[in-house]
Symmetry: D2
Subunit: 295 residues, 4 copies
């Protein structure tokens, strides 16, 4: 895999990310028993970016419950990750929690009643808890880089604010958003953090319930239909697992009842998803018969 020529393009809209070496490739698989298989650059932390949207959604659902769905939809968008057209047509309600607008609205719910610093701390501690690793941190250079350049996200947030979909000051909400997207994790950490989704909402390391089994299933369903922006249909078609990608080149995939897989390769395809990451998952799932769509 590391020899492939066509690796896609490293994200350049966040300047700090454009400096990442595109030749890196890592993967980690953790099965039901907790056995870990990992290879390549599986211990190098990378910017997980949109993959945190899975964790912030989980956290927000725990805080506000199904009231969340008054502010965010559950349908695939049929548009790029940063599109604003849909918001104008649907009165500022983002289509789902995994496009940028939706994740900003979810962040705003987490923020409500807190200071940005507290909210961000809560998110980070939740991710550390899920990954069972208190060393996970936020890459401040990446967060600062997006703070300086994230005009399109600022447009999305102000637009939602004009419809009352966002309550807090836009700068506060975006501050938390940019920082939690800048969490750095290795494939190994990421695969660990996703285990509760593969195992009925229970985190196998601790035996503690993170979410109700039904909620875990539903988050998986959202990952399947909306987890890869306007490439979600293709990912489901090829890989056949719920997954969430980030423009840092990572993908977290869930094989319910079987395993979690985290893969990282910085080059992105046209839809903004890791090119080699998707190919690796396609091959792996096929070989192991892990597709949720049949043997």
């Amino acid at each position: 895999m590391r020899k492939r020529d066509d690796r896609g393009t490293v994200a350049d809209y966040i300047p700090e990310l454009s400096r990442v070496d595109p030749a890196q490739f890592g993967i980690a698989v953790i099965d039901e028993a907790g056995e870990i298989a990992a290879a390549g650059d599986c211990d190098i932390p990378f910017s997980v970016q949109s993959i945190t949207k899975v964790f912030t959604l989980t956290l927000a659902l725990g805080m506000v419950g199904d009231r969340l769905w008054q502010r965010v939809g559950r349908e695939p968008s049929g548009s790029p990750f940063n599109s604003i057209v849909q918001l104008e047509n649907e009165r500022g309600i983002p289509r789902n929690p995994f496009i940028n607008a939706g994740a900003i609205a979810v962040t705003d719910l987490i923020l409500s009643g807190h200071q940005p610093r507290e909210a961000l701390g809560e998110i980070l501690r939740f991710v550390q808890f899920l990954a069972d690793d208190p060393t996970i941190h936020i890459d401040k250079a990446v967060a600062a880089s997006e703070q300086r350049t994230g005009f399109r996200n600022r447009a999305l947030a102000n637009y939602m604010r004009s419809f009352g979909v966002i309550d807090n000051p836009v700068d506060f909400t975006l501050g938390v958003y940019f920082h939690h997207c800048a969490i750095a994790m290795s494939c190994r950490q990421l695969a660990m953090a996703g285990r509760f989704l593969a195992h009925g909402g229970i985190h196998p390391n601790t035996g503690r319930s993170v979410v109700h089994p039904e909620r875990a299933r539903r988050i998986n369903a959202l990952m399947l239909t909306c987890g890869h922006y306007d490439g979600s249909g293709d990912f489901a078609y090829r890989v056949g697992l719920p997954g969430k990608s980030g423009v840092g080149g990572g993908i977290l995939a869930i094989a319910p009842g079987k395993a979690t897989i985290a893969v990282w390769a910085p080059g992105l395809d046209a839809a903004g998803n890791s090119h080699l990451g998707r190919i690796a998952l396609e091959k792996l799932t096929k070989r192991l018969g892990w597709s949720i769509f049949g043997a």
Copy 2:
């Protein structure tokens, strides 16, 4: 279930369908062993409408293979079933084979090189073969009704023709399309016809391979992401199974490796999917733990 008050609205855009009694409700489940559980109006044939799109897609893939994807996409549309906006933005290529435009393009591929009557015969025989029932027929009154009133589908077809996405005379392609949508099946017949998708492409009744296992998985994936128009995300979230709805009020759902389920209740929700049908599937799947997204 038959006592529920809020049953949604019977489709009225095809005049013939608006005459159906909305109080009817039927369901049939066929498990891996071939055991059938059926209830209610499970033997009354209804107009399957868009559910045939699953079978025409299967047939067309068998005829032209992956070349089909040059004419049709694989992404959820983010738009109603009969939207034309997306076509203008994407040079006449429909987003997926399960919105009307996509299914018309698929029908056009099946038609190529044949007379409409031959193509239609082939589709009908394929459905009869899948359901193992040669009595399945086309409801000509429904087909004629849509022939007279299907202006929006005629717009879609002419629009695609202007981009060269459709090759045959529009009236020929639409004639075949309107007729195969007018196939009438009962829940029992429909659950039978879908069995190859639950069992790795092999039809359990005959043991014959209908499609390669990978293709069966991929069709299931498309049903999951695109099978309920702009309600696909919600169906995945609530039911957690690949499914395809029709405006006649039917839904075919696939529990891979476990069972097929066909349900019928004519009242539709705002997205054009059977309202009670979806609720029934949600309850059933939850009770039986059949969600593909985890236990």
Copy 3:
């Protein structure tokens, strides 16, 4: 002018039009007193195409009055001449009578209660009357060419039919539409036909009132805001006269109280308007101080 290199591109979406020699150029100006100045290929008939929309609008307003505006809007479209997106967003009501959809809806109003042949005869006689020239005819090869290939217009018409904006059988309405677009006129004839718009609704040749002065002004206003598709703003900015273009390369411009100008050069710009025609009008209007926007 005939030596200019960059002449734009001859319309190719109607096969018959693509055979026209792009090197032709004609112009005719008729002032208030009826004096004619003409040059170049001013006596060669060309396919006026969308320019007839001015005449069919005038005719339809005479037949149904302001009731027409229940079916057609009066706003610039912000879209290409053959866009269908706007129709979906506005329940099938075309934005104005000069985009294709609008002109088809206007044609449908003229057709109501008549046979296509009668309606077409009425339109042709009206144009002959306006141009004071009974030899004006329809180019049947052009009409037939568009009948065979006008899939996009067929899509527009069926789409509007699905919303009840068109009453007659789509083939009838389009038959009349394709034929009146295929009227062939020379610059001299066209400049003559437009005189009632420059002179308060009265045709100077005969002294007969064609329309009320207010209606003439209003048709001019529509030509100014909507007469050049998505290049209308630019035409107003550069030329400063009400005008209507056709993909045959003709433009009819009105200098109220002063003159009519017809120009013809087959090469089109990106918005579908005659490239050299617009430049010629810009130079002429500037030199003569005819802009309606000031000396």
Copy 4:
């Protein structure tokens, strides 16, 4: 006019404007000779809002010339005044200088190389010069009100910034924009300020040339095609004069070579233009035969 019942709705999206008494009505007409006819509340200053876009466009064209058109288009938008959809489809380039996005981009050009305070001073002095009245001022309460609530304009500005259509810090550009929109003028002052547009770019009071005659014509053309947002076509159809409206309820109309007219009535129609103001202009223009589209 002051007795009319249906006065439309006072703008409520800027809180400060929603407190204006909707029963007010003023008008001022200044003819070529400088004779002033004024009536009603013609001396009460109101928030001119978008009408300043005419003056900032004039100023910016004087500063950067036709280079301005690299950042802003010249076509009607076919969308509401604050739409963002068009920006996504056209890479951040607003359709014309009179929708909000376009006026923000024009403001950004004026700002370049200056401090916000300087740029704002320059705009205010230009308007004072045009109106020949140094008492004209900015209503700081209105500016502050929009600063607090203008989320949608903030979205537009950030969106354009993401495409590089805006150069300066968004808060600077919007600060200048919100403040110049908050200039307060009476009908009498406004009619005076517009006189250069009616008289070939020369300001009759001073005899000084404000812009080249061609530029004055072109600004008039833009006002005609784009001056009333998505009601521009209707205004041209009914009134037949170049005009620019503001959500404060004012309209400035230009009768080239004849007069300027300023009218004010706070109630707005669905497109955001003064309802009674438009009706008054329609009646006046008709009686006086001032339509640019013919006698």
